[in-house]
Every structure is written in C-alpha cells, then in structure tokens.
C-alpha cells in the first residue's frame, strides 16, 4: 500500500514544487542530475569490474584493518558508501568475503563517505564547478562511444563526475535564489526537538534521494545559503547517515542470509553512531570547533566545519564499534539465523551476485559444485551405496559387494528436488546474466560450467535408469549377473572416488589429466563388456533376457561414467589460461583412448576394481 502511494506522492510534491517555484525546479533538477551522475559512476565502475576492483576486494579483506582501509579507499574513489555497501553485500552473498570483512568494509565506507563532504565543502562551493563539469561531460561522451570497455568505463566515470558537479552547481544556484524568497531559518527549531526533527528530515531526504552525498550537498548548500542553522545542519548530517543504510537494506532483499546480516550491521553501526552523536552533540561541537581552529578553518565557514563534524562523528562510530566487532558478529549470527540448508534451492546464485563478473563466475562454480554434491548423493544411494563407505574403503569392490541392502528413497522425487531444480536455476542464471561487458574467458568459463552441470544431470538420469535392475540383481547373490552389476557399481564408485581425490588434492599439484587414466579404463571396460557377455551366454552362464538387460544397463552406467569424467575434467581444468591450454593440448581425444589403452591391460565389468 505504502509502496503504491510513494511514487504518486513524490510526483505530486514535485509538481506542486514546480508550480510554486522555478527555483525549486532548479534544486530538484540539480538533485536529479547528481543522482544521474551517481548511476553513471556505478555503471562506469561495473565496466572495470572483472578486473582490478574484484581482485583487490578478495585480497584486501583478509583482516579487519585491511577491510576498513579498503572500505575507506573504495568509497573515496567511488564517492558512494551505498554502492560499496551493496557490492560488499553481493560479494558476501557470493561467499567471496567473510562477514567480518564485510562489516569492516561497511565501517570503512562510513569514513570514506566523509570525503564527499570535504569535496563539496572545500571544492564544490568555492569554485565554479560547472566550469569543470562541462568539459568533463564533453570528453566523457567521446570515451563512452569507444569500443574498449575500459575506455567506455572511464567515459561513464568521467560523465558521472561531470553530472555530480553539474548537479551540485544547479542545487547551489537553486538555493541561492531560494534564499531571497523563502527563509528556512524561520522554521529552524532549537534544542532536542530541533535535533530529532532534523535528524528525521536528514534520514528521510537520504532515503528519498538514495544518497547521503546528495543530502550532505543539500545541507552544505543550504547552510552556505543561510537556510538552516549550524545545529540543524549537524542533525541533518546525522540523519543522512541513518538514511544511507536504506540502499544496503534494499540490496539485501535479494541477498542470502549473510547479505542480510551485513545490511543489519550497517544499520546498527549507523544508528548507534547517530545515537551517540546526538547524545554527545555538545562535546562533539566543541571538538569540531577545536579541530577547525587547529587546521585554520574560519569560525564562520560552516560548510567546512560540517565536513569536520561528518568526519569526526564517523570516526567516532568506527572507534566505538571496532572493539565490539566480534560480539556484533555473534549478535548478527543469532539474530539472522542461517536457514536450515534446503538442498533443493540454489545456494549461491542470487540476484545480488548478478552484477559483477567474478561474483558470477565464483557463484556459478560453487553452485555447480553444490549440484555435484547433490548428484553424488543421488548416484551413490541410487546404487544402494553410501558415500562414507566408498570414500573411506581401501577395497571398493569388496565394499560394493557387501552393500546389498537397498537405500529406500524415491529417486525420481529426489532428482526433481535436488538436481533438476538446481540445474534449471543454473541454466536460467546463465541466460539471464549480461555477458556483453564480460571478458571472453570469463564468459567461456561460465558456459563451460553450465555444460558441466548438464553433464552431471545426464549422469544422474543414467543412474535413474540403472537403479531398478542394479537393486534387483544385487540385493541377494544371483551368481554371475550379480557380479556383473556389482562390477558396474564398483566402476561408478571408483570414478566418484577418483574425482574426489582430484577435488581434495592441492590445486597446485593436481591435474585434470589424471582423469584421462580413468577414461581409458572406462573405454576398455566398455569395449570388453560385449565380448564377455557373449561368452557368458555361449557358456550358458547367463540367460539371454538377463544379458540384454545388463547390456542396456551397462550402456547407462558407462554413459554416466563418461559424463562424470567429462564434467570433472572441465571443472578441474587449470584456472590459469596458459596452463589450461597445455592441459587441453595434452588431454586425450575420445578416439585416442583405445589406442593409448592398448598399451596396458584391461579389465571387464565383473572383475571390478579395488
């Protein structure tokens, strides 16, 4: 209801404002241009992502201090704590950073955001910024039309800055003219009521404009134009800090529980800081005057003093919160409890990760692994085996032969719940993401991962076909046919064990080429199966009906093995491009497998493996 009324209300207020005052138009246009600049900045930085921005994020958040430093730096560069907060939520949601690192970034972003106040107070109001804005916009448009995405990114960033400056210029002009017609100071309140009201006004203005920077600009321009008192300006700045959390809260709607925890951390930090600032507004004001006098800021330069206040009170917040960061994390973990894992739902692919290439790539990789884990459970149980048994035994064949009791579960239902749903989510995600501005190798990797997921699903489907007979012929010893099916079960288990070995090996030591050895084994066994079955029929050791069933089932089994091996080869191929090229060249082609395989002995299905 409130959401539906919000837009008409804002439009009505704007229309009334436009009707009442042309100066209001100028202020509103200034805010709009400023916000448009913010959007362009964001778009520009996104074009740089996939490269330096994300790599730095990963490395720079290994400790709280580094995370805070990173938050300060990125917010200073981007001039948007909200953008940095949303990116942090997205990275946390994708599992790229820890919650502590995310909280550190948020703390740092609150310090970094104060540079905006300095920029506006020390620079924006003292020079004719439109003189800078217009050439910036003209140059930016040339860059925006370039083919290179980095040049386009630079163009958007420049245009964003240009629009920010232009927006500031219009807001300033609007307030200057406004001053003659309408004196805001007449409405200024003093005392606690004034503090509370203007804090709420500051928070609301920031929520509406989605930018604490824009609010700070408004405060400084209004303050410089004498529209509001210094005390009211301080309260507005405090309110702006509370209001700025709304962007992160909106960003967390689509994030997982970790993202929501970070948004709550952001809200707690800003509300606590604001509360402390309001309680100690007197001493804070004294300290602002002290610092201002110390650095030579004139007593009447309220704009710069506001920047000092903004900085002091955000620093105060960080100094207050850093010592309690661990209790804060525990509180967040208690308040937003990790949901009981629903294996049927995607864990990593959320809209929150849909913006940045590395996030997408990492989330895809993790989601495919998630799918594989579910698939392994289904495959192993489908063959009436248990993961712990086959992953710990030294004799797989003996373990498989001993595992006769059927694992009671509905494989079709489990497939729908835990495999098909995830696969659909992965395919849907790859079609939804915008690959236009991604590096070619990243796009290729994402599509390879999608194909890996499809291969895994095909392997599970093959096991579904195999399950009925595998259960029927291995529940009790029926002679040679039981041996044959146990052979297939053993082969599949062995492939899963080999893939697990690869998974557990140090990435520096492992090679996807290991799996070529298994591929050769699979092809040798597949080739020998027909001959062996014919011999068994001839010797009347196997009924024709059982033999044809087995041949059908062995096709499913070998198909599952090939799919699993191909999926693992693609998944575990070297991540460094040149090394991946080497592995691709050295890897055996399908039609080479039998030639290379002839070099060594072969087994058939019934002999199994240990």
């Amino acid at each position: 209801m409130l959401g539906r009324l919000l837009l008409p209300t804002i439009l009505l207020i704007l229309a009334l404002g436009f009707w009442a005052s042309t100066d209001f138009q100028e202020i509103a246009a200034g805010v709009a241009i400023f916000l448009f600049g913010m959007l362009m900045l964001e778009d520009g930085f996104k074009l740089f992502s996939g490269g330096f921005l994300e790599r730095i994020l990963e490395k720079a958040t290994s400790s709280v201090t580094k995370s805070i430093g990173f938050g300060i730096l990125t917010t200073t560069i981007m001039q948007s704590s909200s953008l940095v907060s949303v990116i942090a939520i997205s990275f946390l949601s994708a599992g790229l950073i820890t919650l502590v690192a995310g909280v550190g970034i948020i703390f740092g972003a609150n310090i970094g955001t104060t540079t905006g106040a300095w920029l506006v107070a020390g620079f924006g109001l003292k020079v004719n910024i439109s003189a800078y804005a217009l050439p910036m916009l003209a140059i930016s448009i040339v860059l925006v039309f370039q083919k290179s995405k980095y040049l386009r990114g630079a163009g958007f960033v420049l245009a964003g800055l240009g629009f920010l400056f232009l927006g500031i210029h219009y807001m300033k002009e609007g307030f200057e003219a406004f001053k003659d017609q309408f004196d805001l100071t007449r409405f200024a309140m003093t005392g606690v009521a004034g503090l509370v009201v203007y804090t709420l006004v500051g928070a609301t203005a920031t929520v509406v404009m989605q930018s604490s920077h824009a609010t700070v600009v408004l405060i400084i321009t209004a303050l410089a134009a004498g529209q509001i008192s210094y005390e009211n300006a301080l309260a507005l700045a405090i309110g702006a800090n509370i209001g700025t959390t709304v962007t992160a809260i909106i960003g967390a709607f689509t994030a997982n529980f970790q993202g929501k925890r970070l948004a709550l951390a952001h809200l707690i930090f800003n509300v606590v800081t604001a509360g402390v600032a309001l309680i100690f507004i007197g001493p804070l004001r004294v300290s602002v005057d002290f610092v201002s006098a110390g650095v030579g800021i004139p007593d009447t330069d309220y704009a710069l003093k506001l920047a000092v206040f903004h900085t002091i009170f955000n620093l105060l917040g960080v100094f207050l919160m850093v010592p309690v960061i661990r209790p804060l994390i525990r509180f967040l973990e208690r308040t937003i409890v990790q949901p009981k894992e629903d294996l049927s739902q995607p864990k990593y692919l959320s809209q929150a990760v849909g913006e940045f290439p590395l996030t997408i790539q990492t989330a895809m990789r993790k989601e495919v692994k998630h799918l594989y884990i579910n698939a392994v459970e289904l495959i192993v149980h489908g063959l009436n085996l248990h993961r712990h048994d086959i992953f710990t035994t030294k004799d797989i064949a003996a373990t498989v032969a001993a595992s006769r009791s059927p694992v009671e579960f509905d494989i079709d239902e489990r497939y729908e719940q835990r495999v098909k749903t995830l696969h659909s989510a992965i395919v849907e995600f790859t079609t939804r993401i915008n690959t236009k501005d991604m590096a070619e190798n990243v796009v290729e990797d994402i599509y390879t991962l999608r194909d890996v997921a499809t291969g895994i699903v095909r392997a599970v489907k093959a096991i579904k076909h195999l399950r009925r007979n595998a259960t029927h012929f291995t529940e009790r010893d029926q002679g040679v046919v039981t041996d044959l099916y146990n052979g297939l079960r053993t082969e599949i288990a062995r492939i899963l064990v080999e893939i697990r070995k690869l998974e557990l090996a140090d990435p520096e030591d492992r090679s996807s080429l290991w799996l070529d050895q298994e591929r050769i084994q699979v092809e040798n066994d597949a080739q020998n199966t027909n001959g062996r079955i014919e011999a068994l029929i001839r010797d009347q050791k196997l009924a024709v009906g059982a033999a044809t069933s087995f041949l059908n089932d062995s096709n499913y089994a070998y198909s599952a093995m090939r799919e699993l091996l191909d999926a693992a080869r693609a998944y575990y191929i070297e991540t460094e491009d040149a090394m991946a090229e080497v592995e691709r060249i050295l890897s055996l082609e399908d039609d080479e497998l039998s030639d290379v395989g002839k070099a060594g002995p072969s087994r058939n299905a019934s002999e199994g493996a240990s």
């Binding site: 080429l513 060249i585 050295l586 240990s610």
Partner: protein, 83 residues
C-alpha cells in the same frame, strides 16, 4: 605414441594464438604439467608397491602406462613450444 591429434590441437592453438584468442604457452607451463605428471607417476608407483589384489595391480599398471604416454606427449609438446 600417435601424435597426429596432439599436433592438430597444437596447430589449432597456434591459429587461435595468432588471432589473439589464446594465451601464450611458455616452456615453464609445460614443465609444470610434466612435474605434476611425474608426481602422479610416483604416487601410482607407491600405490602399486602397496597393492595386494591382482586386479588392483593390473589397474595401477594400466594407469602407469597412461601416465608414461602423457609424459611423452608433454615432452614432445615442450620440444615444440621451446623450439
């Protein structure tokens, strides 16, 4: 050791490299792959020494034969890349 396929793949790689669609392979990259394969060979040899079941020994010997072929192919690739 049939090298037709690997030679074809190498040609295809050079073609992509010329078009700027592939990353340049240095001898050190191939050497790293050889180190990994040698380590794998050693691990399989150790496993073979410990193996008791004939079927397991047979499987490990088959794997060892494949690793040797892979090492030969990698050494051939190193010659080509280094040349």
């Amino acid at each position: 050791m049939g090298l037709e396929k690997i030679a074809e793949k190498l040609d295809s790689y050079y073609d992509r490299l010329e078009r700027g669609k592939a990353t340049k392979i240095k001898p050190s990259h191939v050497e790293k792959a050889i180190v990994k394969l040698n380590a794998r060979q050693e691990a399989l040899n150790r496993e073979l020494l410990e193996a008791r079941k004939p079927s397991k020994k047979e499987r490990l010997q088959c794997k060892l034969a494949t690793v040797r072929t892979q090492i030969e192919r990698a050494e051939w690739l190193l010659d080509q890349i280094g040349a």
